[in-house]
């Protein structure tokens, strides 16, 4: 129903009019506490768990036989595992960006989407975290990458970007988790209070850490949340910059490029917002949350997508230009020949299509407010960003310095299985999340109702009955 706004052509509101504190709380909390089981949830959960079983099989075989079950080979020693790692980490960027940076910038529209984008971040980082572990030749030695007090006095080799990666990703995960949890506390208390049985009340109650909603609580809470947001903000930039250093610190043509850190951060936000769109468009429709995640949200996210997509496109152009202008023969080969015209040209052009051409549709306001089209565009961007990492990792390694060593890369079934398995894990976590925790921050929504009640009359004037 809310969809009819865009016909009017005006700015849609950040929350559909007519909501009171009670309706907001009820609508959101009921998804967790009251809503009957639904076949769609079972389908999603079924798919997720099935893929987790595939992941289990793939990982078991991997641990039993070694990374040789994948398609990696002598020049292309990193394959899908690293591609997937970077892809998932990139997806994990939107959550913190929306929660922390937009919070500090006091963007109202972030309120209804921050909770589940943060959850998405956590799950995506979990998926990402699996890959560096699994791609190791001897994964049972992973702890050697940490500076632990070893009897041999041996520390990690600090000059390796992989060590920085360990710290960047684990810090990011920890801070994101804290941020998310702190934000959840008032809502957990709400769930405790509304829980139908004592068991649930006890579970939510213990998670709510004794929240009573006193003024002092709120004051402390606000300060803590603000501080965490401030702490999380630099991480948004640092994590993917560090991940990009895995490549730029190498000497491989196609990797060794100064444009990578900003380019990777923009790409991460790009892919993260695409994934948020991919997830929230069905979510708002299935769980009746269209009033809270309105077309305004979709519109704004599309604008971010368009902007970051342009940055990514600029990145491609600048890489290519610098390769030509710089005159380094190895870089010229990698960027002007191997990528666009070599063995992996299909991946390259598909990437350009998905990441540069398709987002151009978002210039049109009508498309920005058409959830179906947006959803399809977001899928393209997800694919395009995966391909981008594939192009960077695989084509660069495939043809580097000595032509004698050049070789093609072909993934195996197990490459695909592990990737699908992590998607399954991601889906599983999300479906678990939407039915056990409030997908939208209730407390913040109530605040929003309060604020829009004072300032949002203009928006409401166009509104219809909810």
């Amino acid at each position: 129903m809310a969809e009819t706004h865009d016909r009017g052509g005006g700015e849609p509101p950040v929350i559909a009019p007519g909501h009171s504190y009670a309706t907001v709380t009820a609508t959101i909390a009921d998804v967790v506490l009251k809503r009957p089981l639904d076949w769609r949830w079972f389908v999603g959960m079924g798919a997720g768990t099935s893929l987790i079983m595939l992941l289990g099989a793939a990982v078991s075989l991997l641990l039993f036989k070694g990374v040789g079950i994948w398609g990696i080979n002598a020049p292309v020693m990193w394959g899908w595992a690293i591609v997937n790692f970077v892809w998932w980490i990139g997806i994990g960027h939107a959550g913190t960006l929306i929660s922390a940076i937009l919070y500090l910038l006091k963007q109202q529209w972030r309120t209804s989407i921050n909770r589940f984008t943060e959850a998405m971040t956590l799950f995506a980082v979990m998926c990402a975290g699996m890959f560096p572990l699994l791609h190791m030749g001897r994964p049972w030695k992973f702890w050697w990458l940490f500076p632990y007090p070893a009897t041999m006095d041996l520390l990690p080799q600090w000059r390796s970007p992989l060590v920085w990666d360990v710290f960047a990703v684990s810090t990011y995960f920890t801070v994101s988790l804290l941020f998310w949890y702190v934000g959840l506390i008032p809502d957990l208390a709400t769930l405790r209070d509304r829980a139908g049985n004592t068991f649930l009340a006890k579970v939510y109650g213990s998670l709510a850490l004794g929240w009573r909603g006193s003024g002092r609580h709120w004051a402390r809470y606000k300060t803590a949340y603000m501080l965490l947001a401030a702490m999380a903000t630099p991480l948004v930039v640092s994590v993917h910059s560090v991940v990009s250093l895995d490549f730029t610190a190498g000497i491989i043509p196609g990797w060794h490029s100064t444009v990578f850190p900003p380019f990777f951060v923009a790409g991460a936000i790009f892919s993260g917002f695409a994934m948020v769109l991919t997830l929230c468009i069905p979510l708002r429709s299935w769980y009746g949350l269209k009033d809270f995640i309105t077309l305004k949200h979709l519109d704004y996210m599309s604008r971010v997508l368009l902007a970051t997509g342009m940055i990514v496109g600029y990145g491609y152009a600048s890489e290519t230009f610098v390769a030509w202008y710089g005159g380094n023969p190895f870089e010229r080969h990698a960027l002007l020949h191997a990528r666009p015209w070599g063995s992996f040209r299909h991946a390259y052009w598909m990437m350009i299509f998905c990441n540069v051409m398709v987002p151009q549709l978002l210039w049109s306001p009508a498309i920005r407010r058409n959830p179906m089209v947006l959803w399809i565009i977001s899928i393209f961007v997800n694919i395009g960003m995966w391909l981008e990492r594939y192009v960077i990792v695989v084509t660069s390694l495939s043809e580097d310095f000595l032509p004698s060593s050049w070789a093609y890369f072909t993934p195996t079934f197990w490459d695909v299985a592990v990737f699908l398995g992590t998607i399954g894990f991601f889906v599983f976590c999300l479906f678990l999340f939407v039915r056990s925790l409030p997908a939208i921050a209730m407390a913040e929504m109530r605040e929003l109702v309060h604020e829009t009640g004072h300032h949002g009359h203009a928006a409401q004037a166009h509104g219809e009955t909810p």
Binding site: K65, G66, V67, G68, I69, G71, I72, N73, A74, P75, M77, W78, P132, H135, M136, G137, R138, P139, K141, F142, W144, L145, L154, P156, Q157, R159, S160, P161, L162, V163, V166, D246, A249, G250, I251, I252, P329, H333, L397, E399, D400, F401, L402, P403, S404, S405, W406, A407, Y408, T410
Partner: protein, 1005 residues
């Protein structure tokens, strides 16, 4: 200590081990330090010897003294643990036997028989286990180097698929029962003078066996000895018969040669003499010598010799005759035939110019004709060489093995004919596999299987295709397990002594022949010793024998090299072949790595990329780019080869440099499943197309492409240098230009800070690889594999570029014309960069820099992120994607070098500059209170290299490697990256006629 009736003092291990005081120590330096505790040793060793003698039933006290010592060295050192293990008590040494120091290898001289020729070797023995083969510097065929086959022989020795039991009529039997059969056979055959008894062997170069055959023929005049080997020298011998009226075998030398012409002769990699020839070739290519040899090659299929040539011309094999005839006519050889040049017509001016060049270099020129060329071409070659004055200098003619068949193919055909005629009832196949190796039209299998042959005996390393149909199959002893001797084509005689008890109770050919001579129970060693006791002067025999065992070469006093000085070549009676048939030609070649199939079950050789094609684990039909275009064939496409009634399906491999209308197939593949788990059932059997009248080539081939395309297991997928300066090539004239001397590479410098920590003031290890010497044979790769416990990965893994070789030989095609490319080789081991990109990115410090400049791998610390491998610009790092090392097969464990870790899955590995050898030298030097010499350490690749292309040493000393670095030809691979590699290269030089670039010349023809 018991007095010995044979000699005044027993043979000690000191005498036996290479590197006595007379010899300047090379690889076995450490042994020198050990004292010579002569008396104590004998006593200590005696107990072991008695045990050893008891095992083998050696009652003869007079013979015991040798076993005394061998017993001490072998039995106590644990050798018997590898063979039959008798139940015995394990007691610690009361007196340490001489020389046997755990962890210290010993080197023994022996020799490898190969195709009737021989290569002298030094074999490293680790506590009684032969683990590594090195060349014998004192042997003229080896000069310290080896070929790929010698390097790989240790793997064949420990091959678990080798035949292990005597089989009689399909049941396991014993050697004693076989001896009973053999004695019975002798009893039956003696009165019949040996009628119906045939013996089939491969080419035999052993004086002892030849003598045994002579005596057998005396005892049984009607016994016939047939010899057949798929790669033989029939044509060279028959050619000499045509030219000189007498069968002779040529032996070539390049010493003092200025111009050499290879007529379809891959002399740098064909046969045991190739090791010596490669060295001579490389020495004559030294740009700083007074003159530099120029090589012209005419060949149908690109081999390493053609690749090394200054002028290589691809001609059909049949047209080589025309080229030879044209040269002969131009050199005014009497009786030279008129022959149309065929596909070589375009090269007529070049041939005329070549003839003029040969004429000018008279006395310093030689024409080398390949063994695959027909007798008539050999006859022409002899005549040309005679005209050039090369006979007796660059071409030495030797008498062929006494009593052996001159024409092996004819000899085998005769056997089949006689079987069909019912004249044969017993065939002893000794060390041969005719069922697989014989030309298809002879139908040897049917003949041997026929009921007319009542007893078929097969002695072989493997229970192979012939063993399958034999009534008796006997496991053969590997040459590293046997006593023997071999005369190499240069005339040197080397003794073969066992490094280990036969692992599978194998027996040698001479033992079977001895039993047939009625000499049952004579120990293996005595068979050889008795022969030489008769040949050598009695008074010095013991001394000579011992010296021969130590040095590996038998000095034949008073017996100068048996070279023949034949009459002038006379071509008047030769019937020249008709002009070559039009159409497609099929040529057969021995496989560059598994030869005629005898090494099919050797995984090292299977996985060694074949020079020029880089194919592994299979063979292919080599087609030229032109033919591929004409027939619409793509790489890997299965084609049906239809040749004189035989049909075979083979994958095609487009080969630049292949003669346009010629398809080449390699022998040795398509073995039966029973050939072994490694080599059984892979590739296609080119032998099915071979005909006794077309052993090496023939016209009338039909090629029909099918719709199947297979991926070929090649290790190099990109063939040109992508306009990168990877292999630097100069002409000799450019090098000699006065300005060139001033040219030196300036290191590009690096912003990366030095590795923190101490830097050695004594040692800075470095390697210089002279691309002008490298011929691309691949011996370095195998030597490295043997030395460093490098696993093989199998065809599937090679298909996914996961081969593990620490030193690979890159092959590039240069030039514009795909039909006549310049072929360039470049061995690439770890470059040991001073600013190593791999070290910076390892998160766990598993790869670090040593204070002596080595880029070291700590396998234990490696967690397998593979970042180092990605970041290596030379792509020399190898990753154990799966568990490639064989932990299961007990016999293969014996081959392992105890000084090198066996790597598990998930860790990175790479060339270490043979750090174990550096450390051994360091320990020895420390014990002696001196520094390691600048050239003292020899890496495995360096030691094996036939041409001496690899030089390793200390940059801080006045060493060969620092000299190499001062050359104006010196350059770093990808030096512009600032990695400051310690492995560097010397550019390749070409010596084109008339100073023009070689490529242009051959194109203009």
């Amino acid at each position: 200590m018991p007095r010995n009736p044979d000699s005044d003092h027993p043979l000690t291990l000191d005498e036996l081990v290479r590197g006595g005081p007379s010899e300047p120590p090379r690889l076995w330096r450490s042994l020198e330090e050990l004292a010579d505790p002569a008396a104590a040793v004998g006593t200590a060793a005696n107990a072991a010897a008695r045990a050893q003698a008891a095992i083998h039933g050696l009652g003869d006290v007079g013979r015991r003294d040798f076993m005394t010592v061998m017993g001490a060295s072998l039995a106590l050192a644990g050798v018997t643990g590898c063979g039959v293990q008798p139940p015995e008590k394990i007691v610690p040494y009361v007196v340490q036997p001489e020389r046997i120091v755990p962890g210290k290898p010993l080197f023994f001289a022996t020799a490898m028989p190969f195709g009737g020729d021989g290569l002298g070797l030094l074999v490293e023995s680790q506590m009684g286990r032969p683990t590594k083969v090195e060349g014998n510097p004192g042997h003229p065929a080896s000069r310290g180097a080896t070929d790929v086959f010698a390097q790989a022989e240790v793997l064949t020795l420990y091959d678990p698929d080798r035949s292990q039991v005597v089989v009689h009529q399909g049941r396991v039997d014993t050697w004693e029962h076989f001896l009973r059969f053999l004695i019975d056979l002798r009893t039956r055959k003696l009165p019949e003078k040996g009628r119906g008894l045939r013996i089939l062997t491969r080419s035999i170069g052993s004086p002892t066996i030849l003598d045994q055959f002579r005596r057998l023929k005396e005892a049984m005049p009607e016994l016939v000895w047939h010899a057949y080997e798929p790669v033989n020298r029939d044509n060279a011998r028959k050619g000499a018969e045509l030219a000189f009226g007498k069968a002779l075998e040529p032996s070539y030398t390049l010493d003092g040669v200025d111009v050499a012409v290879a007529l379809d002769a891959d002399f740098l990699r064909w046969g045991s003499a190739s090791t010596r020839l490669a060295r001579e070739f490389a020495d004559r290519r030294d740009p700083d010598a007074a003159s530099m040899l120029r090589l012209h090659a005419f060949e149908p299929t690109p081999g390493v010799t053609g690749a090394s040539a200054d002028h290589r011309t691809a001609v059909a094999a049949a047209d080589v005759f025309a080229v030879a005839a044209a040269l002969a006519r131009a050199l005014k050889v009497a009786g030279a035939p008129e022959a149309p040049l065929g596909t070589a017509t375009a090269h007529e001016p070049a041939i005329a110019a070549l003839a003029a060049e040969l004429e000018a270099a008279r006395g310093k020129a030689v024409v080398i004709v390949g063994d695959a060329q027909p007798a008539e071409v050999h006859a022409l070659g002899y005549a040309i060489n005679a005209a050039l004055g090369a006979i007796g200098k660059a071409v030495v003619l030797n008498a062929p093995a006494e009593g052996a068949p001159i024409d092996q193919a004819g000899s085998l055909a005769q056997l089949v004919k006689d079987v069909d005629a019912g004249e044969v009832d017993t065939v002893l196949v000794l060390g041969a596999n005719p069922v697989y190796e014989a030309p298809a039209d002879l139908k040897v299998a049917a003949a041997l299987r026929s009921e007319k042959v009542t007893s078929l005996v097969h002695l072989g390393l493997y229970n192979d295709e012939t063993g399958e149909m034999a009534h008796w199959h006997l496991p053969e002893a590997h040459f590293l397990e046997s006593w023997g001797d071999v005369r190499s084509s240069d005339g040197a005689v080397a003794l073969i002594q066992p490094l280990i008890e036969p692992l599978y109770q194998g027996h040698s050919i001479s033992e079977v022949l001895a039993a047939l001579l009625g000499e049952v129970g004579v120990p293996r060693r005595e068979l050889v010793r008795n022969h030489w006791r008769r040949r050598l002067p009695a008074e010095t025999f013991e001394k000579d024998w011992r010296a021969a065992l130590r040095d590996g070469v038998l000095k034949l006093p008073g017996e100068a090299a048996e070279t023949e000085a034949p009459a002038a070549a006379d071509l008047s009676k030769v019937t020249w072949p008709a002009p070559a048939a039009v159409g497609l030609e099929l040529t057969f070649r021995p496989d560059p790595t598994i030869w005629d199939g005898r090494y099919a079950n050797n995984a090292w050789l299977q996985e060694l990329p074949k020079p020029t094609s880089t194919l592994t684990w299979e063979n292919a039909a080599l087609v030229s780019p032109a033919l591929a275009k004409e027939k619409g064939i793509v790489d890997g496409q299965v084609v049906i080869l239809d040749f004189r009634g035989g049909q075979v399906e083979a994958p095609a491999l487009i080969t630049p440099g292949q003669a346009a209308q010629t398809v080449t197939v390699h022998l040795g593949y398509g073995r039966a499943k029973r050939a072994g788990r490694v080599g059984g059932g892979i590739g296609f059997n080119a032998g099915l197309l071979r005909r006794s009248d077309a052993l090496w080539q023939g016209g009338g081939l039909k090629v029909e492409p099918t719709s199947t395309v297979n991926r070929l297991a090649i290790t190099q997928h990109h063939h040109d240098m992508a306009r990168r300066d990877v292999v630097k090539v100069q002409t000799l004239a450019e090098y000699k230009h006065p300005d060139e001397k001033e040219h030196h590479e300036h290191p590009s410098g690096s912003l990366i800070p030095d590795w923190p920590g101490h830097k050695s003031e004594d040692y800075a290890w470095a390697m210089v690889i002279d691309l002008n010497r490298c011929i691309g044979c691949g011996t370095c790769t195998i030597a490295c594999q043997a030395e460093n416990n490098i696993p093989t990965v199998g065809r599937d893994q090679v298909l996914n570029s996961r081969e593990m070789h620490w030193i690979r030989v890159d092959r590039y095609y240069a030039g514009e014309d795909p039909e006549a490319p310049d072929i360039r080789f470049q061995p690439v081991p770890c470059q040991q960069c001073e600013k190593a990109p791999c070290e910076l990115v390892c998160p766990v410090e598993a790869t670090t820099h040593s204070d002596e400049g080595l880029n070291e791998m700590t396998y234990n610390r490696c967690v397998g992120t593979r970042y180092c491998g990605n970041n290596c610009p030379y792509k020399v790092r190898r990753f154990n994607f799966l568990h490639y090392s064989d932990d299961e097969t007990p016999s293969l464990k014996l081959q392992r070098n105890p000084d090198v870790t066996v790597r598990m899955r998930g860790v990175m590995e790479k060339c270490t500059y043979c750090v174990q050898r550096i450390n051994e030298a360091r320990i020895d030097a420390k014990m002696a209170g001196r520094k390691v010499g600048g050239d003292e350490v020899k890496t495995a690749c360096q030691a094996a290299c036939p041409t001496g292309a690899i030089v390793f040493g200390n940059l801080l000393a006045d060493s060969d490697v620092s000299k190499g670095r001062r050359s104006s030809r010196h350059y770093s691979l990808l030096g512009e990256l600032g990695t400051l590699p310690r492995t560097t290269y010397l550019s390749k030089l070409t010596n084109p006629a008339g100073g023009a670039p070689a490529r242009e010349e051959s194109k203009n023809g």
